[in-house]
Each structure stands twice: as C-alpha cells, then as structure tokens.
C-alpha cells in the first residue's frame, strides 16, 4: 500500500506509528497512506482504531513515535509545529470557536496569526462569509448567539480563511442534528467542488464517508489499514470479511446511492408515438412483455398508456396518456431510480433529460445487475 511519496500525494504517511506513554500496544502501528491532492479522504473505523490519532499526527497535535509524514514533499516532523499548523486548516467536532471573539474575528483568526494587515483580513472574512452564506449581521455576533449549524459553518470558514492547501476535519458534522447535517454536507461538497482542497476527515459514520469521500481508509483497532479505496470500489470489492462487516448489510443499497443513472445504460423500453396504430401499439407492449407503453412525440415524453385503453380506438392519439408518477435524470442515483421502480405502477424508472426529453427506462433487473456484478 505504501506507494512512493510524491506524484499527486499531498500528504504521505510512511510507516507512522504512535504508542502513548504507559500503553502496552500501539495506537497506530506502521501505517502508510498516500492522501491524494484535491480529494476528500475519510479515515473511518471502530473506536480504538486510531483514526483521530492519525489525523492529529498530521498537524502534530500528537507526535508520532516513529515514521515520517510528508506534507507536499517535506517531513512535517522537521518543521516548526506552530508554522505548520497555520498552513493547515483544522476543524473539530465541537467546532471550538473562541467564545470571546466575534464571528468576524473568529474567521480571521489564522490570517491574524499570519500577520496579514487589517484590510486584507476584513476582505478575506467578507469573502468567506459570502462563500458560506453567512449574513453580515451574523459577523458582529458572538459564537454563543449562533445555532449549531451556523457555528459549524463558521468553523469550516475559519479553517479555510488563510486558504490552506490541506484541511483536517475531526468528525466535523457529528454534533448537529441529522437534517442540518445533511444540508451542511451538501454545502461542504459544493464548496469543495470549487476549491479542490486536500481534505482528510475522520468519521464514525459509514454513510457520511461514502457520501463525502473520494477515498476511504478503513482502519482496524491499532491503526491497521484494512482497505484504502474509493467508496464505490470498497462497496463492490470489500478486501476482507472485516471490511464487509463494517460496511454493513445495506452494502448493495449504499452502492446504488453512489452510482448515477447516467453511469449505466438505459433500455429503450416500449415506446409508441401519437400516430401509432392501436394494433402496432399492442405489438410493442407484448414485445416488451407488459401491458403498457410510453407515448413519445418526437422526443418529448407525453406519458404512458395501458393496453385496456386501446379498446375501440384506431391510433394512440385518441387516448389521453397518463403522467408518470416520477421521473429520474442522469444526475439521480440508482438508489432513487430503484425507489421509482418499486413505487410506480409500471415497475420501471423512466429516465428523461431536461425538458421532458425521453431517454429510456430502467428496470429492476437492469439495476440489480449493477449490484451483483
């Protein structure tokens, strides 16, 4: 697993071990890991797996017992820890905002430590406030006056204020309720989409890791790396029974959540046009093995008709098509498509592009092939 340092590795852990004083075993034992630049890497594992210890060794809040940690090619253990930390964003679970400083001052913390002049700090704070959609009147308040979700956003804004290349996050979304957490995660992903920081975050929540991470490092007790892979691959090919068990029973569904409709091909499905004769329409339905067909005019999806509606009509145009209860697009996950399949009368998910243009359908067989292979 220990690839040569360099390449696109922003952080390389090389044989890193930590044994705490008076402990009879390593908290982290000879861990080697390449953290890729511009990606989100999740450290996950059961309690006692050393994930937080590993994170804190990167900014030297915990000193490794042995090994090397390269940050952009240079060993962090040979750098001044204070200067090092000012170059690395850091977010903890409880945020840890300075309660005696305003939100504005909190966001400007690291720029101030770096000695930026007041004008530059103010401009940067403004920029961060806009990026994180923090209202101006919020900036003058104290952390005690904010909601949990707002504090969390300020915490991330503060970590990014000095524009560090690397950000470390210790269970950053664990302290807020699930609804706020979901929204913060979405926000975080869209901001990362733009900023492309190298982010390492610790979580105990496998769903969070799957949702946010480009790569997941799954650690076992004692800091043993069980698997290091993109979430999709880890779900598809768990390296061993430990990984399989950790990923849980919903592994298949979780994989569906990761795959987009656009990533797999669609089936043509039974399609008729308004001008199609009733006889031809029946033939199309039977060829598909069902009693319904989509009505498509040009490439615009009008709805669907049932075989029974064709009684006594000459062409499809004489029948009022019904609307599908739900559509999916290429951007939706297969999990959403599956939901559409099992809840719709036609037992398929209809795939459309912007403006109701018909693309095809997804059936249960087609989706489940994705899980099985």
């Amino acid at each position: 697993m220990a690839e040569a340092a360099g390449g696109d590795a922003a952080i390389a852990l090389i044989d890193v071990a930590k044994r705490f004083p008076n402990a009879d075993r390593d908290a982290v034992g000879n861990l080697s890991l390449d953290i890729h630049a511009g990606q989100i890497t999740a450290l996950i594992g059961p309690s006692g797996c050393g994930k937080t210890t590993t994170l804190k060794m990167i900014n030297r809040l915990i000193e490794p017992t042995s090994g090397r940690i390269l940050l952009e090619g240079t060993n962090v253990l040979e750098q001044d820890p204070v200067q090092l930390r000012r170059r690395i964003g850091y977010v903890i679970q409880t945020v840890g905002l300075l309660p005696h400083r305003t939100i504005e001052d909190n966001i400007g913390t690291v720029p101030r430590l770096l000695g930026w002049d007041a004008k530059r700090i103010a401009a940067r704070v403004q920029e961060m406030a806009e990026l994180f959609e923090l209202d101006d009147d919020l900036l003058a308040r104290y952390p005690g006056e904010l909601s949990g979700g707002q504090r969390q956003r300020v915490g991330v804004a503060r970590a990014l204020a000095a524009d560090p290349g690397v950000m470390l996050m210790d269970e950053p979304f664990a302290a807020v309720d699930p609804i706020v957490r979901g929204r913060l995660q979405e926000e975080f992903l869209s901001i990362q989409e733009r900023l492309r920081k190298t982010i390492v975050f610790v979580t105990h929540d496998i769903d969070e890791a799957i949702k946010l991470a480009d790569r997941i490092a799954l650690l076992n007790v004692g800091g043993v790396l069980e698997q290091y892979a993109p979430p999709e691959r880890m779900l598809r090919e768990p390296a061993n029974p430990f990984v399989e068990e950790f990923l849980g029973y919903e592994r298949g569904l979780r994989r569906l959540a990761l795959t987009k409709v656009g990533d797999i091909g669609v089936e043509e499905g039974p399609v008729v046009a308004p001008g199609t004769t009733a006889e031809e329409a029946r033939r199309v339905m039977r060829a598909f093995g069902g009693d319904w067909a989509s009505v498509v005019d040009g490439d615009e999806l009008l709805g669907w008709i049932e075989e029974s509606q064709l009684e006594g009509v000459a062409t499809v145009s004489q029948v009022q098509p019904r609307r599908f209860s739900a559509y999916v697009t290429d951007e939706d996950s297969l999990r959403i498509a599956l939901d559409s399949v099992v809840t719709s009368r036609t037992q398929v998910a209809v795939v459309v592009t912007e403006g109701q243009h018909y693309r095809g359908i997804l059936t249960l067989e087609h989706i489940s092939k994705e899980i099985v292979t």
Partner: protein
C-alpha cells in the same frame, strides 16, 4: 435623633464640616491601600496561579501556603512588621496583600480551568503558540471569574484596611480609632459608614468593568470559588 449620654447628639455635623480635609485625605489613603494591596496580590498571584494551573502538583502547596497567610491575624502581622517597616503604609499593605493572594490565586486557577478543552485544542490546531494561547484565549476567557475574584478581594481589603488605623495608616480606619480612643461617636460612625460606601462603590465599579470588558459573557453564569 438618638442622644449620647450627656445630651450630646450621635452625629455632630459641625465636626464633620470642620474635618472635611482630614476625611478626604483618609479616603485617598484608603483607596491607595486597597489598590496597592489588590494590585500587588494580582502581580504576585497571577503568575503563581498560571504556573500552578499548568503544573497541577504545585497547586496544593500553593493553596496551603496562601491559606496559612490568610489565617495570620492582621493585628499580629502589623505588630510583627513594625520593627522592620515602621509605621509606614507598607506595614499595612503587606498583610492585606497576603489576604488577597488566596482569593485571587483560587479564582485565576478556577477561571483557567473553566476554559473548554476543545477551544484550546482548536486554537492550538490553528497555530497559536502557547504564549498566544494564554494571553489571547485563556486569560480573556477566564476574565469574568478572575474579575469576580478581584471584586471579593477588593471588598474584603477595604474592610480589613481599617485595622491600619492602629498605626495611623488605615484610611477611614483612622476615624474609627479616633472615635474609639476619644469615646466620640461621630468619627467612629462616619469612618465605618464611609468604608462601607467605598466597598459598595468599588464592587459596582468592578462589576461594570467586567460587563464592559467581557460583552460575550453576558447571560452566562460566572462561577466563583
């Protein structure tokens, strides 16, 4: 008006009017005594408390020693110091400082203990040096508890300082001793009353300073020891 034996009134306002200069000088001395004692105790106690808070083993001996200082009777301390420092303000300031130490050290340690671990960790993780952490994070956050300690120390010092009247260095205490020696109620009552007023004013003033300097703590409970 209650009358003293001999038909003399309890308060002789004309005496007060005749002695305004003396009363003002006593007031000034009382303030000087208090500010010197509390200030000196803060100067000595703050570094001791900071070190004791970081090196926990030192805390028990520190409280032990300052506790012993606290129990020395003021009269004995003054009597002991007269051969060394004479009938000077110093003779009064030294024991008063000693009494403040215990209160201040305990409050500084409690204030620093009250700074949440996660705030310290986040600050360290962002690149605060340990000195910056102390001056920009820990002490400002401990300020409400420290100032609460200063209030208690100040009020009790104002009361205790009157004992200095014994050697003519007790601020309003002079008036009290004068009244006691001459069996004359007016200065006795006036000295007690003014020292009470001074204590109240100091307490309110310090509370105001605390509110102004720690706006973020509004609505938070300040716990004192």
């Amino acid at each position: 008006m209650i009358a003293q034996a001999g038909g003399e009134p309890l308060i002789r306002w004309d005496w007060i009017a005749d002695h305004l200069d003396e009363i003002a000088a006593d007031g000034l001395q009382h303030v000087v005594l208090t500010v010197s004692a509390v200030g000196l105790a803060l100067l000595i106690g703050l570094p001791i408390a900071i070190v004791a808070q970081r090196h926990r083993r030192l805390y028990p001996p520190v409280t032990w020693i300052s506790g012993i200082l606290y129990t020395i009777p003021s009269l004995a301390a003054i009597a002991f110091l007269i051969p060394i420092t004479g009938l000077s303000l110093t003779t009064v300031v030294i024991p008063l400082t000693g009494y403040c130490l215990l209160i201040l050290i305990r409050n500084v340690v409690a204030g620093l203990d009250g700074v949440p671990q996660d705030v310290k960790e986040a600050a360290t993780g962002m690149g605060y040096t340990s000195r910056q952490l102390l001056w920009r994070v820990e002490l400002p956050m401990a300020a409400p508890v420290i100032i609460a300690g200063i209030r208690i120390a100040t009020v009790s010092t104002i009361g205790l300082a009157t004992i200095g009247g014994l050697i003519g260095r007790g601020g309003f205490g002079q008036l009290i001793f004068e009244g006691l020696e001459t069996d004359f109620w007016t200065p006795l009552l006036l000295g007690s009353f003014l020292s009470l007023v001074l204590a109240l004013l100091a307490d309110i003033g310090l509370l105001g300073i605390q509110r102004l300097t720690t706006p973020w703590a509004r609505g938070m409970r300040v716990v004192t020891t």
